[in-house]
Symmetry: C2
Amino acid sequence: RHLGIPQPVPYLTRLVSFLTLLGVVAALFIFLIDLAVHGIEAARNQLRQLVHPALGFGLYLLSAVALCLLSTFWCATLSKEAEGSGLPQMKSILSGFYDRMKDALKVRVLFAKALGLICAIGGGLPVGWEGPNVHISCIIAHQLYRIPFFRELKRDRSLRLQTLAAACAVGLASSFGAPVGGVLYSIETMASFYLVQSFWKGVMCALAGAMIYDLLYTTPLVEAFEGTTFDPQDVGRVQIFLYAALGVLMGLLGALFICCVRGIYEMRMRRYPGTNRYFLVGAVATVSALVQYPVRLFALDPRAAINDLFRAVPLKMTDNFGWIELVSLPIVKFLLVAVSLGLPLPAGIFIPSFLIGAGCGRLFGEVLRLVFGAAVVPGTYAVVGAAAFTAGVTRALSCSVIIFEVTGQLRHMVPVLVAVLLAVIVGNAFNRSLYDTLVLMKQ
Amino acid sequence: RHLGIPQPVPYLTRLVSFLTLLGVVAALFIFLIDLAVHGIEAARNQLRQLVHPALGFGLYLLSAVALCLLSTFWCATLSKEAEGSGLPQMKSILSGFYDRMKDALKVRVLFAKALGLICAIGGGLPVGWEGPNVHISCIIAHQLYRIPFFRELKRDRSLRLQTLAAACAVGLASSFGAPVGGVLYSIETMASFYLVQSFWKGVMCALAGAMIYDLLYTTPLVEAFEGTTFDPQDVGRVQIFLYAALGVLMGLLGALFICCVRGIYEMRMRRYPGTNRYFLVGAVATVSALVQYPVRLFALDPRAAINDLFRAVPLKMTDNFGWIELVSLPIVKFLLVAVSLGLPLPAGIFIPSFLIGAGCGRLFGEVLRLVFGAAVVPGTYAVVGAAAFTAGVTRALSCSVIIFEVTGQLRHMVPVLVAVLLAVIVGNAFNRSLYDTLVLMKQ
C-alpha cells in the first residue's frame, strides 16, 4: 500500500529515480571527502617519516595548525551555516521550520562544509564526519530538485520533508555502511511523529548509499570499519549485569561530557568573549597536535583505533596499545573532543563518541578480565561501551543498530541494547542530548 | 527528551514497570505455548515410533484430525475473534478503531487463541504463531491495565495506543528473539504516522521479551532458530544481480500466493457456502497429515527445517533433504499453507512464509551452484529467499531485520535488503498485502 499502488507509474518512476540518485550521489560525495582526508593523513605521515624527527615534528605541528585554520577560514568566508555538526539544523528543518532554515541548504554551505571537514579531520582534530555528512546529504537532496525531471516532485511539501528524512538516513548510512541504523536514526530525529510512508523511501535511499559504500570501501585506499568475530560464548549470559553497569556508567559519562562541552563553551564566552576565531582554532590545533603526536593509538585514524579496541584478542597480543595507552586514551580524547566541539568549524559527534566509549569499555573489560579471568572478552565490552557512550551523548537508541551494522554481527545484541537503553535513561535524568544543548548554547 | 525529563518520576516508574512486566509476561506466555506445542509434537512422534508402522500412521492421522478439530472447537465456543492471524485486527485498533474493536482484547479471546494455536500447530497444520502471538501480547497489555498500580496510565488514550504498539513489538520479538525487527514491524503496522515517543517504549518492551527468549530458548526443551555462520566470501559481491533476481521472483510468488489464498477462500464460499467448520478443518487436517507424513523434511518443526535450509553446507552433506525433497517442499507447502490460512482457527503467516521462501531460495541456490560452481553458497540464497518471500506476502520491509536477528549476523545485509525491497515493489504492482486481503475477504 505504501509502495505505489495509489500512485501513477510516471510519478513513482520519478520518485524511485530521485531516491536512488540521491543515495548514490550522497554516498559518492561522502566517499570523496573520505578519500581527501586519507590523502592528507597519508601525506602528513610520510612527511613525518621522511625527514629528521625534530623537523618531522615541526612539520606535523605546522601542517595541523595550517589545516585547522584553513578549515575555519572556509566557514568564515563561504558560509557560517557550515559550522558545527549540522544535525541540529536538519532537526529543525524536519520539525517544520523549513522556510526559516532554508539558508542552510545552499550550495555554498555544501562546499564550506565539505572543505572545512576535510581540513579539520586532516588536521588531526578529533571530530567526526557523520553529522556533517547528514547535512551534506540534505543539501544534495535539496539541490537535486533543480533537475527538471524532478521538479514536479518538489511541489509536494510533505514529500520534500520525507526526502530530507531519507537524506538524513543516507548520510548516516554512507558514513558507516549502516542502512538500517541510518533509517532508524532518521525516525528518532523527528520531533514528534514519523510518516510511515517515508519508511520505504528512507530504506531505498539508504540502501543505495550502503551499496556504494560496500563497493568502494573494499579498496585499500581508505579505512573502513572491520567486522568483529565474537564467538557465542564470548558474550557471557551471566555477564549481563556487568554490561548493564557499563551502560549506566556510560550514561553518567555522557551526561558529564555534555556538561563539559557546555561549560567550556560558556566559560570561553564569559571570559574571552571577542576571541578571534583563527587564534582560537590555532590554539586548540596546537594542543591537539602536541598531545596526540607521541602516542600511536591517539594519532591513528579513529576507525583504525576503534577496530583495534573491538578486537577479541587479549591485551598482550594487540600491536597498538598497552595499559598506559588504554588508561590515557579516554581521558585525553574526552577533553580534546569536548573542546573541539565548540570550535567554529564542521564537527561531528558520533565517531569521537564511539572512540571514547570503545576506550572506556575496553578498559572496563580489561579490568574485569584481571578480576574474573579469561571468561571475560574485553572486546565485547569495547563494543558495548562505544554504543552506550554514544547513546549517552546523543540519546538515540539507534546507536545500537549502527554498532550492529558496523561490527557485522549480532552476538552482542542483548548486552548492547540493555546498555544503550540504560545509558539513555540515566543520561536523560541529568540533562538534554548534546544536539539540543548545542542548539541552546549558540542561541 | 523522549525518555522522561518532562514526566514526573512516579509516572515514569509506573510506565517502565508496565513495559517491563508486559515484555516479561508476554514472552513467558509465548514460551509456554511453544512448550505445549513441542510436548504434543514429541508425544505424537513417540507414538509413531513405538507401535507397528501401520498402526503408527493411523494414530498419527487420527491425532492430527482430532487436534485440528479441537483447535476450531475452541474458537467456536470461546470466541470467534480468535480465528485467523490477529494482526489485521491489531492494525485496525492501532489505526484508531479502538472502541469498535475492543471485543478482540477480552480474556476469553486470549484463551481461545492460545489453546487453538497449540492444537493447530500440534496437529501438524503448517500455520505460524507470530500473528497470534502479537494478538496475545496485545490482550495481555490490555488486561495488565486492570492492576490498580497501572490504572492511572490507562486514562491517557495516546499512551494506551503506544503500549499496544509496544505489545505488537514484543509479540514479534518473543516469537523470533528479534527485538529490533519487532519494533520496526510495529512501525510499519501503523496506518499513517508513528509517534516517535513510542519508539523507546517499544524497544524497552521488546528487549524485556527478547531477554526472556534468550534465557529460555537455551534449554533443549524447544527448538530455536540457530545462527548462521557465513564467511564474508560466501556472499559474493558480483552475485548481487542473482540475489536481486531471486527478490523479483519472490515478489511474484508472493503476489501469486495472495491470489491463491483469496481464490481458494472465494471458491469455497461460492460453491460450498454453508460448509460445517468441523468438516472443513477435518478434511484439510487429513490431507495435510497424508501429504506431510512420508517425508521427514515436511513433518519437521518449521524452525528445524528452516535451520537446515539455511546451513552453508553443500547438498550432499545435509542429513534431512536431497533434490526430491527440495523441489517438492515449496510446492507442497505453498498449497497447504494457502488452504490452511482460510480455515476458522488461529493461523500466523510469517513462519510458513519463511519456510516456503527458504525452500525456494535454497532450490534457486542449488541450481545456481550446478551452473556456476562452488562460488555459490545455496544457504545464503535460502536466507535471502525466506526474507523476500515473506516480504512479498506481508509487504513489510522489517522482514529483513527479523531475518538478520534470526540468523545472528549481517554478512548478507545488502543482498537481503535489495531482495526484500524488490519483492515489496513487485508484489505491490499486483495486489495488496495478505493482511489487507484477509480483511477484505472476510467482510
